[in-house]
Subunit: 290 residues, 6 copies
């Protein structure tokens, strides 16, 4: 029955069956409502649903890039159930699902949940894309080897990713002295917003290999743009400069997949979920076209 007296079902971008069907869609959105190891304020478990709800308010034409990304087809999967046995098992679950989707020819967009779950999709991509590099947006270094008794704590995310792919990070403004020393010793490119502005987006793009996986911890943004994160830090990135950098990377490189994580919707206004939805939609448009 659902005809034009109805809104579409609630899925990413509120697409109807034509554009939301799995078989036809080039893009798959995978919601992962997982929040088990965070140590700051709580609530990233509700992030995926908030982003999907907000995405229903977007126009399907993105006037900022002149594209209609939904034309590529976007299927929204149901939410991944948390594995509450251990964060390691949860990361493995997400990795296996993403791997199956990649093997099925899909472009995968993972919506967190806490940043730790990004290890799964990043590893699934890396194991299928030789030479993959990772571009990370984050306020925190996330380079601890272990935290609160687990190597899969969200504070260890980029340390885990570094084990299988090189990482370039933008947005850094919180780190332990040990993490800071690790960055120096390894010669990693982890840029604070001030350093990023001084260097310019081209310099960041130059660090990346041809195939790029993008992992976005929304606390990379300034809290004026996204307050709804568990560990907000002043002095962050602005919407326009993130948009510009992503457009440049999409132009120079091939973005093979990405995640958007750490939205804790109750910690900020709904405008924050709206930004996350538009960021996701734009990145689909930049990476996949229309």
């Amino acid at each position: 029955m659902p005809d034009d007296r109805f809104y579409p079902h609630r899925n990413f971008a509120a697409l109807d069956a034509d554009y939301g069907d799995y078989a036809r869609a080039r893009v798959v959105v995978l919601p992962v409502p997982y929040d088990s190891t965070t140590s700051g304020w709580v609530g990233t478990r509700d992030g995926p649903q908030a982003i999907i709800e907000a995405s229903g308010n977007m126009e399907l034409y993105d006037v900022g890039i002149g594209r209609e990304p939904y034309r590529a087809g976007i299927h929204t999967l149901p939410e991944v159930a948390p594995h509450t046995g251990s964060p390691e098992a949860m990361v493995a679950r997400v990795e296996s699902i993403v791997g199956e989707l990649l093997d099925d020819g899909k472009f995968v967009v993972t919506l967190g949940g806490e940043h730790s779950i990004a290890v799964g999709p990043a590893r699934a991509h890396a194991s299928r894309t030789p030479g993959l590099s990772v571009l990370a947006f984050d306020a925190n270094a996330d380079l601890r080897d272990d935290y609160l008794d687990s190597p899969y704590n969200h504070a260890c995310t980029l340390r885990r990713v570094l084990e299988f792919a090189p990482v370039t990070q933008v947005g850094l403004r919180s780190a332990t002295r040990e993490e800071h020393d690790f960055i120096r010793q390894r010669g990693l490119t982890f840029l604070s917003p001030l350093e990023f502005r001084a260097a310019g987006p081209e310099a960041v793009a130059a660090q990346l290999s041809d195939d790029v996986y993008v992992t976005i911890d929304l606390d990379g943004f300034d809290p004026s743009q996204v307050a709804a994160v568990g560990t907000p830090e002043p002095g962050g990135l602005l919407w326009d400069e993130v948009s510009e950098l992503l457009a440049l990377v999409a132009q120079r490189k091939r973005i093979v997949g990405f995640d958007v994580t750490e939205l804790a919707p109750s910690l900020g206004p709904k405008a924050n979920a709206q930004l996350a939805a538009k960021l996701t939609y734009r990145l689909i448009g930049l990476a996949v076209g229309e």
Copy 2:
């Protein structure tokens, strides 16, 4: 792909495809996120989604009635789009949809949205069920003939329903003098909570004909049970007494359909949406069995 690593899709009671499929389901849940004529506090537009979200937290076995109502099959339709031309047109839209579902043999559960939309399903049932009576839960008389320049304002709901079916109301504690006089002149049974307790549930059931449509404005409940309504009134009904009355009516009569309206989720704790979800589920179990 969605296997047991996933939660089910978000629909009423979080059912998987076996029990949520339209063709197989005896019950259809129709969400109507409409909030255009309310005059108190705002937000019933978000009611249906909040009830559906909360329903995912319920156990599917209702220990209070010893049944698993989902076994009858419950399909959740997408949300009805608002007709913003006029409330009259919106009521007509809901009536036509419910009528089509009834003609398709379904038991229809309408989730509001403001109470005015209940006129649609009530009329659709009345026109198909000769001798239908209506049992209403409400804090307000809703008997104005016209309000804020519309006869389909939510303050006119039961006046409109009275045009095609007799109404018995429980929960009354707010009315204009004109409404109060109207009740007396017409000899209507509109009972305050104190009067209801004095009379007992059997007396209410005795007012009803064999086939009963139930319309629930959640402000019939005491604000301690449901604060998340636009016009809360102290001195309302309690969960246990509403449950007992509904169980009795289901036993003595045939409940042919019902609606649950006026949840404005941001005005109270999530526990209010949870009550609305459980009320909906229990009423399905009482009316349809399992």
Copy 3:
């Protein structure tokens, strides 16, 4: 211009000029947005406006008592500005204003703000009504002689009132051992909700003299009825039993004035302000008629 295309101005009960005019009105509502000495959670400063806003959602006919209290005329004054020099000076200001209103023949309803400001209207009434007694609703004894370096702290309210009038209190469930001993030594009637239920409303009415001033700290209610107070205590009074007691006192005695205090609206749902508004309106109806 304001004709029927407009809502009335925001005043208590949203009355138009006919019933809200000062000269014609028998009743005057005095908002006192004062919150300076409270020691629990904060926000009673916003109480008067929240009650007045909620009062605009009420029907003007109170079906519970079968009266239209607004017919007596209710004028709403602008808010009293806080005297931030000292709580003593603020109490004196409120007392002087209430005294002038009484001398002008008005029935005065004071809306707090913290409970301490009740000392002003209570004293203004006592000095003009020989033999006045005070009926207090409160969770706390409020019998400290001094608290946080001030004898006019809100924790001292009833101790101050006792200096000029006898007090009967209902709702007690929080007191220091010293306050508890003071109650015993003085033989005061301060009843917990359980004691009140055992004694019955007639026993409370029997404690009062012919002329009664009523002071209501909303935390006398159970938090299920009013959570929006700075010092909520479980195990409090219910709407129906407070209503019944007030109706009885109005029948047996003469209520000469009253206050409703301690609503901190951000600490609970809007339904709490609605209860406070309806309580105020009903008490006007009980005391003044229509």
Copy 4:
């Protein structure tokens, strides 16, 4: 009685009778708490009251423009009651009221409520001011000819305005492909924030005729400035650049009236209402002087 022991009555800028009296005031503030056709998040109904409440916290001297706008006299009308029959009837009501005020020689400031109501005051001004042009601030094109079954849906606002006056818009970052094509085909000046920064305020002013009506949908601002709107979009206008543009337009042209709409206060911090209040006050100062 209200003397200096009281705050002024709650009206715009908390003015006392001298400056708030209708007859004496050059400026009239018209609150329109209407929210019936919005499709994003809900709550613009509460916008006017929130702006008026916040305006009581402003200093009456605007240090940013060196003026005391209240000296022109500002009268605040009660809220316009919604016509719940249809949005078309509501627009007509607002138009007729504004027309009467203009005919009475007043400068009219309309506070929404949803943006659709701006059609009323804009048309009232246009029909009395030959050659009027409209300057709009908005994130959305608002150029649909019809939406959700109504040509007066808030998504059609500027399309309706274009029927009687030329429109220059600033802030655009959300549009359908059809709206985007319409802008191109008609050669309209609808500027994104990035385009506006490139062009500069003089270029905008050059588009306007001598007499200008300003319509402000607050979502034109960046969500970091105003998150409390139903359809927030990242990448918007900043306070300083809007202020600068308005000052320039006031200097070069004659601003004959304006509206401020779409504040949904519960969706963001109170600071958003404060911005809306100050924007309103400043625009009065720029347009009317002191």
Copy 5:
């Protein structure tokens, strides 16, 4: 320096050094801010701090039982850090800490956090107290053997406890059919609120052995008393009846320890934390005296 110009440090009941010192205190409060396996709404991680903050607003004399429990000395430990490796490891950590405290002669009060952590203190008590029985307050059966891939999920709490002690439960109104069958087959005493009222508190006490550990999942209460839980269920227990039952058990038996869990403070008003604080304080008074 901290003299009487200061409030005491923030600890349970806001005690000064005399009564809060570890060595002198008979009672130790152990906060466990753990929230990793919950499947409903989120936020029990913030429970312990909210209870401790609220406890600072209590009077130290509990007028309801006529005692000053703080005189026994109450030491508040810092918060237990979560073990994010697995819930099993976390339960083991809490058990070891509680065991050490018991071996040091303390009466231990554990504040959750999610209910799963109660397995730790219950086991620590059981292994030191032969014949211990457990009295549980809960809305849910918590009898799953495994949930979301972990036997230590919070939905398995009482199933784990049953492995080392008999359990009597009060408050049941949510269970799977399997859990319901398990209760019947094992002949467990799990009482719904209606069954509890029919049976009376003496019948519950009669189920218990001489030494009793009490575990309180706050969702056992009706949501009108405590809405701030992840899985609220209508039809729950009231403050007065829980208080009465606990007083009776304390009189008939020996309460050797207890926990209060599942407060998710952001999901309800602060009054809910206040109830949890007073419940904790009263239970100390009932179990330990003064």
Copy 6:
């Protein structure tokens, strides 16, 4: 017992006993939860606790300045109890406590609470440091001689400070005409954000004497950075420019003490408390080193 299974006690920066001990610490944090004279929105009483809670989420290494300020030792005192007799008495209490701490050789950081309490620490420093100048961040002039019947109202803060030390202010965008004239007549340096950007930080530093006390009313920041203040004003200072100015002042002058005031946490997202915590920590690092 507290070993590494525990989080540290809640104090500023969540330090363990080694770095938090009073005797060893060079820095003392003094929380003053006072909110009695404010006239805008309410809640600065909860500011100190919110800042301290947020500070537990910071990394102890401040990557922005390359220092670990906690190594200097930071002791957190319990909260100063409010003197509710008068604001004058409260200011005197804070002054005496700060004076005693200074005489004990400590660097004192005062956390408000409303801005009025800054008069106490500023005077304590001025009376011990000849030639001290004060650097203020504020949206408001705070130069009234008296407000709401008290010279110690928070709107008079800088007027009181001027009686004992010269003041340079940055952030001004709200003032009465009288305050504006006072600034001109006295030739004070009170800079709006636009004026500050034009002048540059060196010009501000040049106004200061060798020894500087810094008083921060958080409303000096733009509401996009800190919305959680009682009187937010658009057009304020940004994090990066405040950080840069403070770093320059620390380099050119000697910062002898400071306060951070007016955080009303419930009025904005938790990110605002996080900014206040990091600002406090960085200023300790700039002033004291590590």
